[in-house]
Protein backbone atom coordinates (compact mmCIF):
# COMPACT_ATOMS: atom_id res chain seq x y z
CA UNK A 1 0.00 0.00 0.00
CA UNK A 2 1.20 3.48 -0.88
CA UNK A 3 1.80 5.81 2.06
CA UNK A 4 2.56 9.50 2.26
CA UNK A 5 6.14 10.21 3.27
CA UNK A 6 6.74 12.52 6.21
CA UNK A 7 7.56 15.35 3.81
CA UNK A 8 4.35 14.76 1.89
CA UNK A 9 2.37 14.79 5.13
CA UNK A 10 4.06 18.06 6.12
CA UNK A 11 3.35 19.54 2.68
CA UNK A 12 -0.30 18.51 2.97
CA UNK A 13 -0.67 20.24 6.35
CA UNK A 14 1.11 23.34 5.02
CA UNK A 15 -1.47 23.63 2.24
CA UNK A 16 -4.19 24.21 4.84
CA UNK A 17 -2.42 27.10 6.57
CA UNK A 18 -3.39 30.41 4.96
CA UNK A 19 -1.61 33.75 4.82
CA UNK A 20 -1.83 35.71 8.05
CA UNK A 21 -2.28 32.66 10.28
CA UNK A 22 -0.74 32.51 13.74
CA UNK A 23 0.57 28.98 14.11
CA UNK A 24 2.34 26.82 16.68
CA UNK A 25 4.10 23.74 15.35
CA UNK A 26 4.70 21.07 17.98
CA UNK A 27 8.00 19.37 18.57
CA UNK A 28 8.92 16.49 16.25
CA UNK A 29 7.06 15.72 13.03
CA UNK A 30 4.98 18.96 13.03
CA UNK A 31 8.19 21.02 12.91
CA UNK A 32 8.63 19.79 9.33
CA UNK A 33 5.55 21.76 8.25
CA UNK A 34 7.65 24.94 8.39
CA UNK A 35 9.79 23.64 5.53
CA UNK A 36 6.75 23.52 3.27
CA UNK A 37 5.15 26.89 3.94
CA UNK A 38 5.51 28.94 0.73
CA UNK A 39 7.88 31.88 1.18
CA UNK A 40 5.46 34.33 -0.37
CA UNK A 41 2.83 33.49 2.25
CA UNK A 42 3.24 35.57 5.44
CA UNK A 43 2.58 33.21 8.35
CA UNK A 44 3.45 33.92 11.98
CA UNK A 45 5.12 31.01 13.74
CA UNK A 46 4.77 31.06 17.52
CA UNK A 47 7.16 29.25 19.83
CA UNK A 48 5.89 28.89 23.38
CA UNK A 49 9.18 29.74 25.05
CA UNK A 50 8.52 33.32 23.99
CA UNK A 51 8.73 34.38 20.38
CA UNK A 52 6.44 35.19 17.49
CA UNK A 53 7.77 35.46 13.96
CA UNK A 54 10.17 32.55 14.29
CA UNK A 55 12.50 32.06 11.36
CA UNK A 56 14.54 29.07 10.20
CA UNK A 57 17.64 27.63 11.86
CA UNK A 58 20.67 29.94 11.71
CA UNK A 59 23.72 29.24 9.58
CA UNK A 60 26.34 27.10 11.30
CA UNK A 61 28.42 29.31 13.57
CA UNK A 62 25.67 31.94 13.96
CA UNK A 63 23.76 30.14 16.71
CA UNK A 64 22.76 32.26 19.73
CA UNK A 65 22.12 30.37 23.00
CA UNK A 66 19.57 33.04 23.96
CA UNK A 67 17.53 32.48 20.77
CA UNK A 68 15.98 29.02 20.80
CA UNK A 69 12.66 27.36 20.07
CA UNK A 70 10.47 25.16 22.27
CA UNK A 71 12.59 22.15 21.30
CA UNK A 72 15.62 24.11 22.59
CA UNK A 73 17.10 24.22 19.08
CA UNK A 74 18.74 27.45 17.83
CA UNK A 75 16.43 29.50 15.59
CA UNK A 76 16.24 33.01 14.10
CA UNK A 77 13.72 35.84 14.39
CA UNK A 78 12.12 37.28 11.27
CA UNK A 79 12.01 41.03 10.75
CA UNK A 80 8.95 42.19 12.66
CA UNK A 81 9.14 39.34 15.16
CA UNK A 82 8.79 39.81 18.92
CA UNK A 83 9.93 38.35 22.23
CA UNK A 84 7.74 38.07 25.33
CA UNK A 85 7.61 36.31 28.67
CA UNK A 86 6.10 32.91 29.35
CA UNK A 87 2.74 34.03 30.76
CA UNK A 88 2.13 36.25 27.70
CA UNK A 89 3.22 33.41 25.45
CA UNK A 90 0.75 30.99 26.99
CA UNK A 91 -1.97 33.65 27.04
CA UNK A 92 -1.63 33.65 23.25
CA UNK A 93 -2.44 29.94 23.36
CA UNK A 94 -4.86 29.66 26.25
CA UNK A 95 -6.66 32.86 25.29
CA UNK A 96 -7.54 31.43 21.88
CA UNK A 97 -5.37 33.80 19.84
CA UNK A 98 -3.51 31.16 17.83
CA UNK A 99 -5.31 30.12 14.66
CA UNK A 100 -3.70 26.69 14.37
CA UNK A 101 -1.52 24.30 16.23
CA UNK A 102 -0.11 21.12 14.77
CA UNK A 103 0.66 18.31 17.21
CA UNK A 104 1.96 14.78 17.10
CA UNK A 105 -0.09 12.06 18.80
CA UNK A 106 -0.09 8.52 20.16
CA UNK A 107 -3.85 8.25 19.69
CA UNK A 108 -6.87 10.32 18.66
CA UNK A 109 -10.38 9.15 19.51
CA UNK A 110 -13.43 9.27 17.27
CA UNK A 111 -14.69 12.23 19.29
CA UNK A 112 -11.40 14.14 19.01
CA UNK A 113 -9.82 13.27 22.36
CA UNK A 114 -6.03 13.55 22.13
CA UNK A 115 -3.36 11.42 23.82
CA UNK A 116 0.16 12.60 23.12
CA UNK A 117 2.07 13.21 26.36
CA UNK A 118 2.44 9.94 28.24
CA UNK A 119 2.44 6.27 27.34
CA UNK A 120 1.16 5.37 30.78
CA UNK A 121 4.14 3.11 31.43
CA UNK A 122 4.52 2.72 35.18
CA UNK A 123 8.19 3.68 35.48
CA UNK A 124 8.23 6.46 32.86
CA UNK A 125 9.09 9.95 34.09
CA UNK A 126 6.08 12.06 33.15
CA UNK A 127 6.71 15.26 31.18
CA UNK A 128 3.93 17.37 29.70
CA UNK A 129 5.37 20.72 28.64
CA UNK A 130 2.88 22.84 26.70
CA UNK A 131 0.93 19.97 25.13
CA UNK A 132 -2.21 20.40 27.24
CA UNK A 133 -2.26 24.17 26.71
CA UNK A 134 -1.92 23.80 22.95
CA UNK A 135 -4.63 21.16 22.84
CA UNK A 136 -7.26 23.42 24.39
CA UNK A 137 -5.97 26.77 23.20
CA UNK A 138 -5.67 27.01 19.43
CA UNK A 139 -8.74 27.78 17.33
CA UNK A 140 -8.03 24.70 15.22
CA UNK A 141 -5.99 21.73 16.41
CA UNK A 142 -4.39 19.58 13.74
CA UNK A 143 -2.82 16.22 14.51
CA UNK A 144 -0.11 14.71 12.34
CA UNK A 145 0.74 11.07 12.93
CA UNK A 146 1.20 7.66 11.34
CA UNK A 147 -2.16 6.02 10.80
CA UNK A 148 -1.06 2.82 12.51
CA UNK A 149 1.39 1.75 15.18
CA UNK A 150 4.42 -0.27 14.17
CA UNK A 151 2.37 -3.31 15.17
CA UNK A 152 -0.36 -2.36 12.69
CA UNK A 153 -2.97 -1.12 15.16
CA UNK A 154 -4.97 1.95 14.28
CA UNK A 155 -3.97 5.09 16.18
CA UNK A 156 -7.45 6.44 15.53
CA UNK A 157 -9.51 4.68 18.20
CA UNK A 158 -12.98 4.58 19.70
CA UNK A 159 -11.56 5.60 23.09
CA UNK A 160 -7.96 6.50 23.91
CA UNK A 161 -6.18 3.94 26.06
CA UNK A 162 -3.23 6.25 26.73
CA UNK A 163 -3.61 9.09 29.26
CA UNK A 164 -5.44 12.05 27.73
CA UNK A 165 -3.89 15.39 26.81
CA UNK A 166 -7.22 17.04 26.04
CA UNK A 167 -10.89 16.17 25.59
CA UNK A 168 -12.69 16.67 22.24
CA UNK A 169 -10.01 19.07 21.08
CA UNK A 170 -8.78 17.72 17.70
CA UNK A 171 -10.29 19.19 14.52
CA UNK A 172 -8.39 17.40 11.75
CA UNK A 173 -6.09 14.38 11.53
CA UNK A 174 -3.36 14.04 8.89
CA UNK A 175 -1.90 10.56 8.61
CA UNK A 176 0.26 8.73 6.09
CA UNK A 177 -2.97 7.26 4.66
CA UNK A 178 -5.63 9.94 4.86
CA UNK A 179 -6.88 13.35 5.95
CA UNK A 180 -9.83 13.02 8.32
CA UNK A 181 -12.01 15.68 9.94
CA UNK A 182 -13.39 15.27 13.43
CA UNK A 183 -16.97 16.55 13.33
CA UNK A 184 -19.93 16.44 15.71
CA UNK A 185 -21.34 13.75 13.41
CA UNK A 186 -18.17 11.64 13.63
CA UNK A 187 -15.02 11.14 11.57
CA UNK A 188 -15.29 12.33 7.98
CA UNK A 189 -12.69 11.32 5.38
CA UNK A 190 -11.50 14.30 3.32
CA UNK A 191 -9.05 12.40 1.19
CA UNK A 192 -7.03 9.20 1.02
CA UNK A 193 -3.62 8.33 -0.33
CA UNK A 194 -3.48 7.38 -4.02
CA UNK A 195 -5.12 4.01 -4.64
CA UNK A 196 -6.54 3.51 -1.17
CA UNK A 197 -10.27 2.88 -1.35
CA UNK A 198 -12.57 4.22 1.35
CA UNK A 199 -13.65 0.73 2.39
CA UNK A 200 -10.06 -0.40 2.87
CA UNK A 201 -9.27 2.71 4.94
CA UNK A 202 -12.36 2.05 7.06
CA UNK A 203 -11.26 -1.55 7.60
CA UNK A 204 -7.74 -0.47 8.67
CA UNK A 205 -9.04 2.26 10.95
CA UNK A 206 -11.57 0.10 12.74
CA UNK A 207 -13.83 2.91 13.93
CA UNK A 208 -16.79 4.27 11.97
CA UNK A 209 -15.78 6.66 9.16
CA UNK A 210 -17.95 8.65 6.81
CA UNK A 211 -17.21 9.54 3.24
CA UNK A 212 -16.72 13.31 2.86
CA UNK A 213 -18.82 14.95 0.16
CA UNK A 214 -15.80 15.92 -1.92
CA UNK A 215 -13.63 12.98 -0.95
CA UNK A 216 -10.75 12.36 -3.33
CA UNK A 217 -7.32 10.76 -3.43
CA UNK A 218 -3.74 11.67 -4.12
CA UNK A 219 -3.91 15.41 -3.54
CA UNK A 220 -0.39 15.65 -2.14
CA UNK A 221 1.27 13.83 -4.98
CA UNK A 222 -0.59 15.84 -7.59
CA UNK A 223 0.04 19.17 -5.87
CA UNK A 224 3.76 18.97 -5.07
Amino acid sequence: MKRYTRDQMAARVARDIPEGAYVNLGIGLPTMVANHLPREREIFLHSENGLLGMGPAPAAGSEDPDLINAGKQPVTLLTGGAYFHHADSFAMMRGGHLDFCVLGAFQVSASGDLANWHTGAANAIPAVGGAMDLAIGAKRVFVMMDHQTKGGESKIVAHCTYPLTGVKCVNRIYTDLAVIDVTPEGLVVVETVDGLAFDELARITGVPLRRGSGMHTDSVLSST
Partner: protein, 232 residues
Protein backbone atom coordinates in the same frame (compact mmCIF):
# COMPACT_ATOMS: atom_id res chain seq x y z
CA UNK B 1 20.20 56.48 47.97
CA UNK B 2 18.59 53.21 46.95
CA UNK B 3 21.07 50.76 45.56
CA UNK B 4 19.86 47.20 44.98
CA UNK B 5 23.13 46.03 43.50
CA UNK B 6 24.94 43.42 45.56
CA UNK B 7 28.70 42.90 45.40
CA UNK B 8 28.74 39.14 44.86
CA UNK B 9 26.53 36.19 44.06
CA UNK B 10 27.40 34.66 47.43
CA UNK B 11 26.17 37.78 49.26
CA UNK B 12 23.02 37.76 47.10
CA UNK B 13 21.96 34.25 48.17
CA UNK B 14 23.33 34.28 51.74
CA UNK B 15 19.91 34.36 53.45
CA UNK B 16 18.26 31.52 51.50
CA UNK B 17 17.27 29.18 54.33
CA UNK B 18 16.88 25.41 54.40
CA UNK B 19 13.40 24.43 53.27
CA UNK B 20 12.92 27.55 51.13
CA UNK B 21 10.95 27.59 47.89
CA UNK B 22 13.13 29.01 45.13
CA UNK B 23 12.02 29.85 41.61
CA UNK B 24 14.78 29.55 39.04
CA UNK B 25 14.38 31.23 35.67
CA UNK B 26 15.33 29.75 32.35
CA UNK B 27 14.02 27.43 29.66
CA UNK B 28 16.67 24.78 29.29
CA UNK B 29 19.86 26.81 29.54
CA UNK B 30 18.47 30.00 27.94
CA UNK B 31 17.97 32.42 30.81
CA UNK B 32 19.27 30.03 33.43
CA UNK B 33 21.05 32.02 36.17
CA UNK B 34 23.95 29.58 36.43
CA UNK B 35 26.22 31.78 38.55
CA UNK B 36 23.49 32.36 41.15
CA UNK B 37 22.79 28.62 41.24
CA UNK B 38 26.50 27.93 41.75
CA UNK B 39 26.44 30.39 44.66
CA UNK B 40 23.39 28.64 46.10
CA UNK B 41 25.21 25.30 45.94
CA UNK B 42 28.21 26.87 47.67
CA UNK B 43 25.91 28.46 50.27
CA UNK B 44 24.64 25.01 51.21
CA UNK B 45 20.88 25.51 51.74
CA UNK B 46 19.09 22.17 51.51
CA UNK B 47 15.63 20.65 51.52
CA UNK B 48 14.67 23.17 48.84
CA UNK B 49 11.57 23.24 46.66
CA UNK B 50 12.60 24.40 43.19
CA UNK B 51 10.31 25.83 40.53
CA UNK B 52 11.65 25.71 36.96
CA UNK B 53 10.29 24.64 33.58
CA UNK B 54 12.71 21.73 33.39
CA UNK B 55 14.75 19.65 35.79
CA UNK B 56 18.29 20.41 34.73
CA UNK B 57 20.53 19.69 31.77
CA UNK B 58 23.82 17.80 31.96
CA UNK B 59 25.55 18.54 35.26
CA UNK B 60 25.58 22.33 35.24
CA UNK B 61 23.30 24.89 36.90
CA UNK B 62 20.08 23.32 38.16
CA UNK B 63 21.36 19.80 37.45
CA UNK B 64 24.38 20.51 39.67
CA UNK B 65 22.06 21.67 42.47
CA UNK B 66 20.08 18.44 42.12
CA UNK B 67 23.25 16.38 42.04
CA UNK B 68 24.36 18.00 45.31
CA UNK B 69 21.08 16.64 46.79
CA UNK B 70 19.81 20.00 47.96
CA UNK B 71 16.37 19.66 46.42
CA UNK B 72 13.43 17.93 48.11
CA UNK B 73 10.85 18.73 45.47
CA UNK B 74 10.74 19.91 41.84
CA UNK B 75 7.76 21.78 40.43
CA UNK B 76 8.14 21.75 36.65
CA UNK B 77 6.46 20.96 33.33
CA UNK B 78 9.07 18.99 31.43
CA UNK B 79 11.65 17.13 33.54
CA UNK B 80 12.46 14.40 31.03
CA UNK B 81 15.01 15.48 28.44
CA UNK B 82 17.85 13.79 26.61
CA UNK B 83 20.35 15.15 29.13
CA UNK B 84 18.31 15.14 32.36
CA UNK B 85 20.07 12.06 33.74
CA UNK B 86 20.76 13.61 37.15
CA UNK B 87 17.06 14.20 37.78
CA UNK B 88 16.10 10.88 36.21
CA UNK B 89 18.33 8.93 38.61
CA UNK B 90 17.05 10.80 41.70
CA UNK B 91 13.45 10.27 40.56
CA UNK B 92 13.86 6.56 39.97
CA UNK B 93 15.62 6.23 43.36
CA UNK B 94 12.66 7.95 45.05
CA UNK B 95 14.93 10.70 46.33
CA UNK B 96 13.01 13.63 44.87
CA UNK B 97 9.37 14.61 44.74
CA UNK B 98 7.89 15.80 41.43
CA UNK B 99 4.88 18.06 40.94
CA UNK B 100 4.21 17.96 37.21
CA UNK B 101 2.40 21.07 35.92
CA UNK B 102 1.35 21.85 32.34
CA UNK B 103 3.62 24.60 31.09
CA UNK B 104 0.89 27.21 30.68
CA UNK B 105 -0.45 26.44 34.14
CA UNK B 106 3.07 26.79 35.51
CA UNK B 107 3.43 30.23 33.91
CA UNK B 108 -0.08 31.36 34.89
CA UNK B 109 0.20 30.08 38.48
CA UNK B 110 3.46 32.04 38.83
CA UNK B 111 1.86 35.10 37.23
CA UNK B 112 -1.17 34.76 39.52
CA UNK B 113 1.08 34.73 42.59
CA UNK B 114 2.68 37.98 41.49
CA UNK B 115 -0.69 39.55 40.72
CA UNK B 116 -2.37 38.62 44.01
CA UNK B 117 -4.89 36.26 42.44
CA UNK B 118 -6.27 33.65 44.86
CA UNK B 119 -6.96 30.96 42.25
CA UNK B 120 -8.18 30.71 38.68
CA UNK B 121 -10.15 28.36 36.44
CA UNK B 122 -8.39 27.13 33.30
CA UNK B 123 -9.45 24.65 30.62
CA UNK B 124 -5.92 23.22 30.44
CA UNK B 125 -5.76 19.59 31.65
CA UNK B 126 -9.55 19.29 32.08
CA UNK B 127 -10.46 15.63 31.77
CA UNK B 128 -6.85 14.46 31.98
CA UNK B 129 -4.86 12.68 34.72
CA UNK B 130 -3.23 16.02 35.69
CA UNK B 131 -6.62 17.33 36.85
CA UNK B 132 -7.40 14.36 39.08
CA UNK B 133 -8.44 15.40 42.58
CA UNK B 134 -8.81 19.04 41.56
CA UNK B 135 -11.94 21.14 41.73
CA UNK B 136 -13.61 21.56 38.34
CA UNK B 137 -16.48 23.62 37.01
CA UNK B 138 -18.36 23.88 33.73
CA UNK B 139 -18.59 27.51 32.66
CA UNK B 140 -20.60 28.38 29.55
CA UNK B 141 -20.50 24.74 28.52
CA UNK B 142 -16.75 24.32 28.82
CA UNK B 143 -14.89 22.38 31.51
CA UNK B 144 -12.35 24.20 33.70
CA UNK B 145 -9.92 23.19 36.45
CA UNK B 146 -9.23 25.30 39.55
CA UNK B 147 -5.53 26.11 39.90
CA UNK B 148 -3.76 27.93 42.72
CA UNK B 149 -0.84 30.35 42.56
CA UNK B 150 2.75 29.24 43.11
CA UNK B 151 4.52 31.57 45.51
CA UNK B 152 8.19 31.52 46.44
CA UNK B 153 10.59 32.86 49.01
CA UNK B 154 13.19 33.67 46.39
CA UNK B 155 13.51 33.93 42.61
CA UNK B 156 16.86 33.59 40.88
CA UNK B 157 16.67 35.05 37.38
CA UNK B 158 18.97 36.17 34.59
CA UNK B 159 18.61 39.46 32.75
CA UNK B 160 20.74 41.36 30.28
CA UNK B 161 20.90 44.77 31.95
CA UNK B 162 19.80 46.18 35.26
CA UNK B 163 20.14 49.44 37.19
CA UNK B 164 20.44 50.23 40.89
CA UNK B 165 16.66 50.51 41.24
CA UNK B 166 16.26 46.97 39.92
CA UNK B 167 14.79 47.81 36.51
CA UNK B 168 15.57 45.02 34.07
CA UNK B 169 15.71 44.25 30.37
CA UNK B 170 16.32 40.78 29.00
CA UNK B 171 17.87 39.25 25.91
CA UNK B 172 15.83 37.39 23.28
CA UNK B 173 14.15 34.16 24.44
CA UNK B 174 16.23 34.18 27.63
CA UNK B 175 13.43 36.39 29.01
CA UNK B 176 11.05 33.40 29.40
CA UNK B 177 10.13 33.07 33.13
CA UNK B 178 12.18 36.03 34.44
CA UNK B 179 9.49 38.74 34.61
CA UNK B 180 6.77 36.58 36.19
CA UNK B 181 9.11 34.90 38.68
CA UNK B 182 10.41 38.31 39.76
CA UNK B 183 6.87 39.38 40.63
CA UNK B 184 5.92 36.09 42.34
CA UNK B 185 8.80 35.79 44.82
CA UNK B 186 9.20 37.67 48.09
CA UNK B 187 12.82 38.33 47.14
CA UNK B 188 13.84 38.40 43.48
CA UNK B 189 17.56 38.25 42.74
CA UNK B 190 18.63 39.10 39.20
CA UNK B 191 22.02 38.36 37.76
CA UNK B 192 22.80 40.73 34.89
CA UNK B 193 25.52 41.08 32.32
CA UNK B 194 25.62 44.84 32.70
CA UNK B 195 24.69 47.26 35.46
CA UNK B 196 23.85 50.59 33.85
CA UNK B 197 23.31 54.06 35.28
CA UNK B 198 19.79 55.12 36.24
CA UNK B 199 18.08 56.57 33.19
CA UNK B 200 20.12 54.58 30.72
CA UNK B 201 17.33 52.00 30.29
CA UNK B 202 14.61 53.53 28.12
CA UNK B 203 11.51 53.73 30.37
CA UNK B 204 9.40 52.71 27.35
CA UNK B 205 11.16 49.36 27.06
CA UNK B 206 11.89 48.34 30.66
CA UNK B 207 10.44 44.84 30.91
CA UNK B 208 10.59 44.30 34.68
CA UNK B 209 10.13 47.49 36.72
CA UNK B 210 12.33 47.63 39.81
CA UNK B 211 9.45 47.22 42.27
CA UNK B 212 9.58 43.47 41.51
CA UNK B 213 13.35 43.16 42.04
CA UNK B 214 15.17 43.22 45.37
CA UNK B 215 18.79 42.45 44.39
CA UNK B 216 20.91 42.89 41.27
CA UNK B 217 24.28 41.18 40.80
CA UNK B 218 26.61 41.83 37.92
CA UNK B 219 28.20 38.73 36.42
CA UNK B 220 31.46 39.09 34.55
CA UNK B 221 31.04 37.13 31.37
CA UNK B 222 33.96 36.80 29.00
CA UNK B 223 32.34 38.10 25.82
CA UNK B 224 29.69 35.40 25.95
CA UNK B 225 27.72 36.72 23.04
CA UNK B 226 30.44 36.45 20.45
CA UNK B 227 31.28 32.91 21.46
CA UNK B 228 27.92 31.19 21.67
CA UNK B 229 29.50 27.73 21.52
CA UNK B 230 31.21 28.26 24.84
CA UNK B 231 27.97 29.22 26.53
CA UNK B 232 25.84 26.50 24.99
Amino acid sequence: MIDKTVASTSAAVADIADGATVMIGGFGTAGMPSELIDALIEHGARDLTIVNNNAGNGEIGLAALLKAKRVRKMICSFPRQTDSYVFDALYHAGEIELELVPQGNLAERIRAAGAGIGAFFTPTAYGTPLAEGKETRVINGRGYVLEYPITADFALIKAEKGDRWGNLVYRKTARNFGPIMASAAKCAIAQVRKVVALGELDPEVIVTPGIFVQRVVKIDVADELSTPQAAA
